[in-house]
């Protein structure tokens, strides 16, 4: 639901991003309404991941303001669930999917204390991603799609209102790409969570998309779907000819050439 009574999921006011003294992008002023599924697109090096890290409070804006769910972006915001790029790379074979999901909830807890709802939260998160069956296995033995489901469950276990994902479809085959996109679309409805995804290919998300944040010419913009998926814009964005096709089902597809 996109309600005007709720603060925007993401709001930038004159925000700029700097890394090592170099301006990555600037003049970011837009609002992403809550409840949608939004992709962040832009050419390589345009600062998509930097924008995500800014929403997470890991990179402060060099100027301007960044609000997330009505409050300034900050590290350790429990209302955000985060799925980093290449989630499985650093994990190795030493931990099970279930233990990883639990860490999404207990990982910030010092000491050995447990609370009674730890396991039921893990169960609920695993159910939400259809991951209960394989969660007892080590992450390294799971397929790419299964690993991504565990990563999403880990982000969900704290009941976030905003889910941020960085290239969640990287290294997945087409069937798994579609399954992860469908899962995210389902979570948006069943959990009422706003989904913001950094992608390099918009296509798999088009059927479910409510809007796009696009990094163009050094500035981030937001456009609701319909306005943004426009041949001229996408062509400009990627620097290569992009075609928009409307199918009988009303789906939009973009393709090269």
């Amino acid at each position: 639901m996109i309600g005007t009574d709720r603060p925007a999921a993401v709001a930038l006011r004159g925000a700029a991003a700097e890394l090592g003294g170099r301006t990555i992008w600037s003049h970011g002023s837009f609002e992403v309404p809550t409840g949608g599924m939004v992709c962040v697109i832009g050419p390589n090096g345009s600062g998509k991941t930097t924008l995500l890290r800014m929403l997470l409070g890991m990179v402060p804006p060099s100027s301007g303001e960044v609000d997330v769910l009505g409050a300034p972006a900050r590290q350790g915001n429990p209302r955000i669930g985060y799925v980093p790029q290449r989630f499985g790379d650093t994990v190795g074979s030493a931990i099970t999917g279930r233990d990883l999901v639990r860490l999404g909830h207990t990982g910030t807890r010092w000491g050995l204390g447990r609370s009674v709802d730890d396991e039921s939260r893990v169960d609920a998160a695993l159910d939400a991603v259809a991951g209960s069956e394989f969660a007892a296995q080590r992450l390294s033995t799971l397929s790419g799609g299964q690993q991504q489901r565990i990563a999403i469950a880990q982000a969900l276990v704290g009941d976030p209102e905003l889910l941020l994902l960085d290239e969640p479809l990287a290294n997945l085959d087409l069937r798994n790409q579609r399954e992860i996109v469908d899962l995210l679309a389902e979570l948006r409805v069943t959990r009422g969570v706003t989904v913001v995804v950094v992608v390099h290919d918009l296509n798999p998300f088009l059927p479910h998309l409510s809007g796009v944040v696009y990094l163009l010419d050094g500035h981030p913009h937001y456009g609701p779907i319909g306005e943004v998926v426009d041949e001229e814009l996408l062509t400009h964005l990627y620097g290569t000819q992009v075609r928009v096709v409307r199918t009988a089902q009303g789906d939009l597809f973009t393709g090269s050439g």
């Binding site: 350790g76 985060y82 190795g92 030493a94 860490l103 910030t108 010092w110």
Partner: protein
């Protein structure tokens, strides 16, 4: 050839081994060995999930000039060992958070430290036994004072791990997520390295710089082949360390050979069998 001195020392079954086991120095050896196995089992899971094996190996070598240098200055080798290991841990921690970032710098420091250790050892002409003890360990020479230090250090490692266990696990397996959640990822990394330096300081005195891998890395790596549950890995790694130390000590007394050899051999045997079976 007639009159040639046999090269092989007098090796054989010691019929009085049971009575030797009752000696006070044996009691110290058992207690010291058990404490090291405990400390190694506790920290071992984190050594393996953080891919800190090479750092563990390097810390032992970095401690080497600490021990030989301390002897040169007339100080306690344990103290020198601890100072150099902890100093080394802080340097490695400052170099980077992930094992791969640290590898070249760690290896270079390792080589330099070993060279320094050789220099110090040669300057202190009368301390060849210290040199051998640091390189290969001497569990049978553990004193009551060292036992007290071991006990304190083991309790300290257990207490700190009890506090940081979950944040350290998350920071180890998902550093990006941990940072986003506001965990002090870098401080946790340094905390872990200092705990590992303390465990290394103990393990060097038992099995020596060159063999400590067998007590700090081999048991948890073996346990990880059997289970991926953190608590079980710690328990199993501790058990493997205990069996290696206790059985190694008993056999070494039976045949009057250095315990380090048997401790490392048993740990290696358990690892080899586990690896073969779980392949």
């Amino acid at each position: 050839m007639l009159g040639a001195t046999p090269l092989l020392a007098d090796v054989g079954y010691q019929s009085n081994w049971v009575s030797i086991l009752g000696e006070p120095f044996m009691r110290n050896a058992f207690i010291g060995g058990v404490l090291v196995a405990l400390a190694g089992g506790l920290i071992g899971y984190f050594v393996v999930i953080r891919e800190g094996e090479f750092a563990a190996h390097a810390l032992g070598h970095i401690g080497f000039p600490g021990a030989t240098g301390a002897v040169l200055l007339g100080l306690s080798p344990t103290l020198g060992l601890a100072v150099f290991c902890i100093g080394g841990a802080l340097v490695i921690g400052a170099l980077g958070q992930r094992a791969r970032e640290q590898a070249v710098a760690t290896g270079t420091i390792l080589a330099f430290a070993t060279g320094l250790g050789v220099l110090f050892a040669s300057l202190a002409s009368r301390s060849t036994s210290t040199l051998t003890n640091v390189l290969f360990g001497n569990l049978l020479a553990i004193s009551a004072g060292q036992i007290a230090v071991f006990a304190g250090v083991t309790v300290l490692i257990a207490a700190v791990l009890a506090v940081v266990a979950r944040p350290l696990t998350l920071a180890s397996v998902n550093p990006e997520v941990a940072a986003a959640k506001g965990l002090p990822v870098r401080a946790l990394s340094i905390c872990f390295l200092v705990l590992m330096a303390l465990a290394t300081t103990m393990a060097v005195q038992v099995v020596g710089t060159l063999l400590l891998f067998a007590l700090l890395v081999t048991p948890p790596a073996t346990a990880l082949r059997l289970t991926a549950r953190p608590a079980r890995v710690c328990g199993l790694a501790t058990a493997i360390g205990l069996v290696s130390v206790v059985a190694g000590l008993v056999i070494s007394v039976m045949f009057n050979l250095p315990p380090s050899f048997f401790i490392v051999s048993i740990a290696t045997l358990i690892w080899a069998i586990t690896t073969a079976v779980t392949r």
